[in-house]
Amino acid sequence: MSYSITEPSSRQKWVAGTLVITYAIITMIPLLWIMMTSFKTPPDSISYPPKVFYEPSLEGYVNLFTTRTRVSPEKLASLPPPENFAEEIVRNRDMVIAGPSKFGGRFLNSVIIGFGSTFLSIFLGTLAAYAFSRFKIPFADDLLFFILSTRMMPPIAVAIPIFLMYRQLGLSDTHLGMILLYTAVNISLAVWLLKGFIDEIPREYEEAALIDGYTRFQAFYKVVLPQAATGIASTAIFCLIFAWNEYAFAVLLTSGTAQTAPPFIPTIIGVGGLDWPAIAAGATLFLLPVMIFTVMLRKHLLRGITFGAVRK
């Protein structure tokens, strides 16, 4: 079979495909195991040898979202029949649902803080990047270096001063405090990445818009922003992943009202033994928002929308 010199042969494609799929499977195994565990019953989750085939159960999810109390068999028998599947699962373990767990609230905190700080990082980062890209700013290079220098050590290295400052300022365990902290960490990444993307957008577009009767700011949001969409989307994903997964500061600075999901999930320890399915269910649900966000922005990551409209 003949093929073009730049087009891989079918055998090369086959080998490459096999390698990629094998690698994908290997990296997916831990995630897959977490998801599988979340649908196991507690005895199945700790059985040895580990069970690959099992009867799926929602017990982990029920335990994740509820708090339960053990009751005597007599009391259990005297109760009216269970109203829903959750009640039924819990009663099989000689318990009744006492109320909702804190997971919902912690998850919501993660959403507020993660997306809030991502929005703020992108908002400020885009404006700063545009300014650095287009305007003559005195000491622009030094300022950019200064912005980057905030990432020259791990942010957790300054945890203690931040802890003390936050306590003084009343920002400890607040949504605002966590949003500001994650924005501060992400903003240097956002400015640098977005500056690169905006530098790539030719000035001619803005000049054309200025002549077409628009102000500079209108030209910025009508012409520059849509073309920076690719860069903004990928930067937003990086920012969200950092803020969403951050554990150390969350442990240190939050405990109640603003606690995010990462420090909360390990605390889901069941009554009388580690409740692995509940922890796995928490981890699985925790993965979803970033996954959905990434899939939603995928087309922006893949599409080079500015390609070819300006003659180079």
Partner: protein
């Protein structure tokens, strides 16, 4: 449509002076072509008029109004860029409608639709209106870019080598089309090019630029027949004017240091003997590359081309243009 007057414009970038003391009057309804090589200040002049660059000194008047401090939007100019500059995230239709939707014009939707359709018809892009701007060929992109200017009714159209990137046939078509549109609408147009055919065919006036200065301004015919200097003479005419020492031919010519010979200034059969180095058949014309005492001369062969490479031919100048040592024209034609 308006009259545009430039008074002593100056602009430098760092140490480099891009435009020096430029004054020009662009009459209402005229088609002015700025001609000059790269770096002569043509594009900078357009950008100064449009407001994309600020003036170092001088005054730009549009319709009698001094616009020095106005933004590009306030100046009411339309510009066609050399690099198309279509908005890549918009369709052709939205690209054309973009200026009409600006906060300054705020055109009603029905009016936008009508104008876009009309301009698309003129430029033969009606069937491409719903394509994305990036899905067009180079020629189509440039037509959309011209269309984006034409949908408006600005004080002046500024065009920066709009045809330079197109293939020869499309360029010829659009040249005629542009001229037709301009004379139909009676618009004022300032057009930058280094293509002399565009200058000759479209312009009502030509301004020749040299190193940021306007060296001559007049009708294309004036510029061709009465160039003020060797530089200006070299800008128009194909094949290019031949500049030769004045004493090459027997008759001495007063103060003239050099003479300029266009093909029509050459008479065959008498005068000096030159050897034919090369013959170029271009179809409609035949060019002879001659060597006369070490000076290369390019002329048009008479009809029927009796000459071949390696032969000799006698040539004699007829009313050539005379220039002094510094390249300036000497007007007395028969000293």
């Amino acid at each position: 449509m308006a009259e545009v007057i430039l008074e002593q414009l100056c602009k430098s970038f760092g140490r480099e002076q891009a435009v020096i003391d430029m004054s020009m009057k662009i009459d209402n309804g005229s088609f002015v072509v700025l001609l000059g090589p790269t770096g002569a200040g043509k594009t900078t002049t357009l950008r100064l008029i449009s407001g994309l660059e600020t003036l170092d000194s001088g005054t730009v008047r549009i319709d009698g109004r001094v616009v020095n401090t106005e933004t590009p939007a306030q100046r009411d100019v339309a510009m066609v860029f050399q690099q198309y500059s279509l908005y890549p995230h918009l369709t052709v239709r939205n690209n054309l409608a973009f200026p009409l939707r600006s906060p300054i014009l705020k055109t009603p939707k029905a009016e936008i639709d009508r104008k876009v359709a009309e301009v698309a018809g003129i430029l033969h892009i009606s069937n491409k209106l719903d394509n994305r701007a990036t899905e067009l060929s180079g020629g189509e992109m440039q037509r959309v870019s011209i269309g984006r200017a034409l949908v408006r009714d600005p004080a002046i159209f500024l065009m920066d080598e709009p045809l330079s990137s197109l293939d020869a046939r499309l360029r010829a078509d659009l040249r005629i089309e542009l001229k037709r549109i301009q004379s139909e609408l009676g618009s004022t147009l300032l057009y930058v090019t280094h293509d002399q055919i565009e200058a000759m065919t479209m312009a009502t006036h030509v301004g020749v630029l040299q190193d940021g200065k306007l060296v001559q301004f007049g009708t294309p015919r004036e510029i061709y027949e009465n160039p003020g200097s060797i530089y200006v003479a070299g800008r128009l005419g194909l094949p290019r004017i031949n500049i030769l020492p004045a004493d090459l031919f027997s008759s001495t010519r007063g103060r003239a240091a050099n003479i300029g010979l266009r093909p029509e200034h050459v008479e065959y059969g008498t005068g000096q003997e030159a050897s034919v180095k090369r013959v170029e058949h271009l179809g409609d014309q035949t060019r002879l590359h001659l060597d006369l005492k070490g000076h290369a001369i390019t002329v048009l062969s008479p009809h029927g081309n009796p000459y071949a490479a390696g032969t000799t031919v006698k040539i004699q100048p007829v009313n050539p243009l005379c220039f002094d040592e510094s390249g300036n024209r000497i007007t007395e034609t028969n000293p």
